[in-house]
């Protein structure tokens, strides 16, 4: 029975971890290129969740089809916030951009509250589920997981196989050198911020396919905390590291629950958080640059 539970929880953990990883890639990309810590990260996930909800409820659009809409909206928001706030603060102290992204998060929350009220909402897609015997997986979760892998793969291909992606990588390596070689560094910054936000908003759509309830303007806070842990775990500036960090985080969170549940007198869920942070410390001690960060 314990083995069955552990297997089920680990499988669920991998799937959830994949989506968490996807939800962290935008944060890592923005930090990697611009060195800006986006503390308003969770608010953009919330925007994605509302995109999925509203498109499903008003137009009956299935959540996977909301992904392109979320990407375009997220990239537009990214451009808007880059040119109105972030660009001016890039040369300033780190605290300035930190406060700016915090403010952007609060603004988004309050705008969404005015538009959609603070009610916790949700949608019911009604897909069937896959019964594996030791656990049950709704197809919507599997689609979310597949979508996360696909988005991660596309990002990898874009970075490594396109000129625009290589230009962005060159800015990460050495922005002055890239500028000398004729690359428009400011545009690369804008594009990175825009893609980072676009990815984050897309992850909001995918997360609702995993958890299609509890959508409210303040839902982002929990994801921001998780995203920071995952980002550090994977290597703060590495989007792919973030994806693998998410997988590891999901496995640790779900796997450790089953083990802690065997110890009488312990509250296993409380211990999983404790254990996740202990593991984070251990990994950082062994590998300070995170799992996949390369110099």
């Amino acid at each position: 029975m314990i083995f069955e539970q552990l297997s089920g929880n680990l499988l669920q953990g991998v799937i959830l971890g994949g989506v968490y990883g996807m939800a962290t890639m935008g944060l890592s990309l923005i930090f990697g290129v611009l060195k800006v810590v986006n503390v308003g990260h969770g608010a953009f996930i919330m925007v994605g969740a509302y995109v999925a909800l509203i498109l499903f409820q008003t137009l009956g659009i299935a959540p996977p089809l909301a992904v392109p809409v979320a990407l375009i909206l997220g990239m537009a928001l990214g451009m808007l916030f880059y040119y109105t706030a972030i660009k001016k603060l890039l040369k300033g102290p780190e605290l300035a951009s930190l406060l700016a992204t915090f403010s952007i998060g609060v603004i988004l929350e309050e705008v969404c509250k005015q538009l959609f009220t603070s009610e916790a909402r949700g949608y019911h897609w009604g897909l069937d589920k896959l019964d594996l015997g030791f656990t049950v997986l709704p197809y919507s979760k599997l689609i979310a997981f597949g979508g996360s892998i696909l988005v991660g793969l596309l990002l990898y291909l874009w970075f490594h196989k396109t000129r625009a992606g290589m230009a962005m990588r060159s800015v990460v390596e050495d922005d002055e050198g890239a500028g000398v070689c004729g690359i428009n560094v400011d545009w690369e910054y804008a594009l990175s911020f825009s893609i980072g936000i676009g990815l984050t908003v897309v992850s909001g759509v995918l997360l609702t396919m995993f958890i299609p309830v509890g959508i409210n303007p303040y839902m982002g806070g929990s994801y921001t905390l998780k995203a920071f842990v995952i980002a550090v775990l994977g290597g703060l500036a590495s989007p792919y590291g973030a994806f693998f960090g998410g997988l590891v985080f999901g496995l640790i969170e779900n796997g450790s629950y089953t083990l802690f549940a065997q110890i009488p007198g312990l509250e296993p869920f409380a211990m999983t958080r404790f254990f996740s942070f202990v593991m984070l410390l251990v990994i950082l001690l062994i590998r300070p640059t995170g799992l996949l960060r390369t110099k």
Binding site: K113, E119, G122, G214, I215, N216, E253, R273
Partner: protein, 420 residues
């Protein structure tokens, strides 16, 4: 002679000064002000918005229908001052200080939730201000020795007393008799209080608690806990904490195919958004509620019980509430309990003809009345003991009152339909 005139003149001035001072003092009470650090944004925004509109509706009734509050032989308006505490404890304490010391309010209201109510209570105690608790249900609040906290919402320990009695009554002979109860709940002050009360009541009625586990606030996935719960094969699941987590618990129970005879969720299941968010998975899910549109408390009912009646009828109240929110939204119990707290305060002030917090606190202790919200009575600690709860159940997309029998608007669907 000259000295005598000076003394007489001085005495006249002194008397005039005393007279003027009294006039100024009397003139000071031009209105009675209640102050409220309301949770208008953040985690508890939904309940906080309902509470603010509920207080505004009650204040509207007091001023426009009741004619104000009778103090010192005249009726003065009731004023309501509130700030957004953003559902944060540190804001609650600073805003209460501001309301008391700068805005000079006469009475304070607690924000929604047990945690925030507890955070503000020491400030109210420090200034000796009556602190009306409309949304903090935890019994712990009343074990701290606070003297000025007065509760209107019922205590958490009694949330599921009716639910468990209902199961015992309607399902006494089914074979196998439902014995196994699982408690899965948020690690919060409120939920702990509710579940400890449910555990105690369940044991008293002969049920077995086969699972009792918490999950952290802000949880985003309950699969591990629910897999664990599924292995315990409970007949009844009682759980939840607030809004998002309650929806999540229900959704993931459906995902994992955990079917029970009864599922009761605190807070979440009593809100209209629950049915919309869960769709068919909400069918048959229950929740304890302090008030629902459709309960039948009336002036006549109060007279029969020999109780004072105050406030609008249910339909009048709904109109006032809709006016306050400026939309067609119906009040839920978060609004109703906040409104009832205002009505209790008005009765107490009028009874003692004073706004002195100590005198009014004593009067609240003696008070027993009925309003559209139901009965109101507190014990020595300030804990609500007069108000009875109802159980609601989602049936074909609508909330129905199914328990107690005297208040029900539909028969309970039991056992609950399985998740498809």
């Amino acid at each position: 002679m000259k000295n005598n005139n000076v003394i007489i003149l001085l005495m006249v001035f002194l008397m005039m000064a005393i007279f003027n001072a009294q006039s100024v003092f009397a003139a000071k009470l031009e209105k009675v002000i209640i102050g409220h650090p309301a949770a208008l944004s953040g985690k508890y925004a939904k309940a906080g918005e309902q509470a603010v509109a509920g207080i505004q509706a009650a204040v509207d009734w007091v001023n426009s229908v009741h004619g104000g509050i009778a103090v010192d032989g005249k009726k003065v308006p009731l004023d309501y001052k509130y700030y957004d505490c953003e559902s944060r404890k540190e804001s609650v304490t600073s805003l209460l200080e501001r309301l008391i010391t700068s805005d000079k309010v006469h009475f304070t209201f607690a924000p929604y939730s047990s945690g925030l109510t507890l955070a503000g209570a020491p400030i109210a105690e420090k200034y000796g201000m009556v602190y009306m608790d409309h949304g903090g249900a935890s019994d712990k609040i009343f074990r701290q020795g606070f003297e000025y906290v007065v509760q209107t919402i019922g205590p958490g320990s009694r949330y599921h007393a009716g639910t468990l009695e209902m199961i015992k009554k309607i399902d006494p002979t089914t074979n196998p008799h439902p014995k196994k109860i699982a408690l899965a709940y948020e690690d919060s002050e409120f939920a702990r209080s509710v579940m400890d009360g449910a555990e105690e009541k369940a044991k008293e009625l002969g049920f077995d608690i086969v699972f009792k586990r918490t999950y952290p606030k802000g949880v985003t996935d309950l699969t591990p806990l629910l897999s664990d719960l599924k292995a315990a094969a409970p007949d009844v699941v009682i759980g939840g904490g607030h809004f998002q987590d309650g929806q999540l618990l229900n959704k993931q129970m459906a995902d994992l195919g955990i079917n029970t005879r009864l599922l009761s969720l605190i807070a979440a299941a009593t809100l209209p958004a629950f049915g919309e968010a869960l769709g068919e998975f909400a069918e048959g899910v229950m929740g304890p509620s302090h008030w629902e549109y459709g309960v039948t408390f009336s002036k006549e009912g109060a007279a029969k019980e020999g109780l004072t009646w105050i406030g609008p009828s249910q339909d009048e109240y709904v109109k006032l509430f809709k006016k306050a929110v400026g939309s067609d939204t119906l009040p839920d119990y978060h609004a109703a309990e906040a409104s009832a707290a205002v009505l209790a305060l008005v009765l107490a002030v009028e009874k003692v003809n004073s706004v002195d917090p100590d005198v009014v606190r004593d009067a609240l202790g003696e008070l027993k009345f009925m309003s559209f919200y139901g009965n109101w009575d507190i014990d020595k600690t300030g804990k609500q003991v007069g108000h009875a709860m109802v159980d609601v159940q989602w049936q074909k997309g609508e909330r129905k009152i199914v328990w107690p029998e005297s208040a029900k608007t539909a028969d309970v669907v039991y056992p609950k339909p399985d998740f498809k």
